[in-house]
Amino acid sequence: MDWLLEFLPRNLDRLSVWIGVLCTLAIYSLLYRENPVYRFFEHMYIGLAAGYSLGPLGVDILYRYWIEPIWIQGYWAWAFVVPYGMYLYFIFSERYGWISRIVIGTLIGASAGLFFQEFSSRYLPQLNSTLQKPLWVSDANPDMTYGMMINNILFVVILLSVLTYFTFSYEQRGPVKRVAIWGRWFLMIGLGAIFGNTVMARMALLIGRIYYLLNDWLMIRVGGG
């Protein structure tokens, strides 16, 4: 009886747990099949998410980067940015639709231009760290062990064979084809490893939810003691 009284949504704290549980179960019902309850929560979810974004991603950005600089700090040149960006809204017009492409062109140009830096800072350090893998134990690299040597040789072999698989402009045949096939097999090892490694993180998510159902909602004490 005490348990039941505690269990029921008798105050706001309890009610919030019940809401959370309801949301969880509604989403889980999709596992059985798509159904009206799921559909209700799905539409509510998207509505809430769309509404929420307008605060931090819409109003906040416009206020911080547009309204504040112009009206409070007085940097008048920013005035032109929003009307220019508004060209994007011509997308819905058949006649003026092309005007939105000016803004889209700006965005495409910018992302292309930014890619040079991204390319350099993302891939070149990786290339450089590949170079720091000596293939033989020698005086030049006194700290190296035979274990590291084997690993380094493997590293370079795998890297080059996978890279060979990802070439397109000629017909892969003979030894190249064999290397490429090996490359694909090495790739599968990598993919399998990632799969196996991700399972743990995903199971942890589910366990978190089940713990919430057991502990917070049904008030079954798990763990401790």
């Binding site: 998207i46 998410a49 991603l57 030049a140 017909e171």
Partner: protein, 276 residues
């Protein structure tokens, strides 16, 4: 470990310059009529099969760029979707494009409109079929999962950058028996697509897709340039590890080849030598 400017290591400028040159020269070659080859990419041949099945069943095709933020990857994904749309326009197969990024959504409107126009069926274009669901990762995923199940889509194309939600799309698609073709640059999501989709386009194959589908000279030429670039990377790797084996990992040459700040010692020695 990051580059703010090319000056952090001029090797960056050299590599980018070389790749740009290789790509541009081969694009010019292709435009002047050189016959260029592209190897088979198995998953892409299945696109027509998937479209055919959708048409047969009269159920829609979904195209999902996922949460891909607007940028180079998104433009490539939309280029692929544009090609697919041109194909389905011929059979008037229904389509849905579901995006989780508002800018990608906006550009997709234009791209799909163009696709129907170029296929000669502007009447089939319906702005309501290109949808922005949410920029919140799992709200978007719930919307996609719901739609795939409700409309029992017959074919699902997922191209772009994906995160944890990839498996939600792929498994719900699998549940309704859709033919699924996925292509992504996100290495960590590839295993889930491989497990749940019929065909998976991996890594750079994603960028080769439009060349493969359209056989446009510009794209084929670019692909040749990309292969030359990979050869450069392979040779640098080989040369570098040999140098490291002989001269040690601290050798100046290793620093010059892409280590951030690796040219500082070089410059200061040059400047000192010049100044004195």
């Amino acid at each position: 470990m990051s580059y703010q400017h090319a000056q952090d290591n001029w090797f960056a400028a050299i590599v980018i310059g070389f790749i740009a040159l290789a790509v541009l020269v081969n694009i010019i070659r292709a435009r002047m009529g050189a016959q260029l080859y592209i190897r088979r990419i198995p998953g892409l041949d299945a696109i027509d099969e998937a479209i055919g099945r959708s048409t047969e069943l009269g159920r829609p095709v979904t195209m999902i760029p996922g949460m891909t933020a607007f940028g180079v990857v998104a433009v490539q994904a939309l280029t692929i979707f544009k090609y697919i749309t041109k194909q389905i326009a011929r059979f008037a197969t229904p389509m849905r494009l579901l995006s989780g990024d508002p800018t990608v959504f906006a550009v997709a409107q234009e791209a799909i409109y163009d696709a129907y126009n170029e296929a000669g069926r502007p009447d089939l274009y319906d702005a309501d079929n290109i949808r922005f669901l949410s920029d919140r990762q799992f709200a978007f995923a719930s919307g996609v999962a719901g739609l795939i199940q409700r409309e029992r889509v017959a074919a699902s194309f997922m191209f772009g950058e994906f995160f944890a939600e990839s498996l939600i799309f792929a498994e719900t698609g699998n549940m309704v028996g859709a033919i699924q073709i996925a292509g992504t640059v996100s290495f960590t999501q590839v295993p889930f697509f491989v497990a749940a989709c019929d065909y998976t386009i991996i890594g750079e194959e994603f960028y080769a897709t439009s060349a493969y589908l359209s056989r446009e000279p510009v794209l084929l030429g670019s692909l040749v340039g990309q292969d030359i670039a990979k050869l450069l990377f392979a040779l640098t790797t080989l040369g570098g590890v040999v140098a490291a084996t002989i001269a040690g990992t601290d050798a100046p040459i290793i620093k010059l080849l892409g280590q951030p700040g690796g040219w500082d010692a070089f410059w200061s020695s040059v400047l000192k030598g010049g100044g004195q």
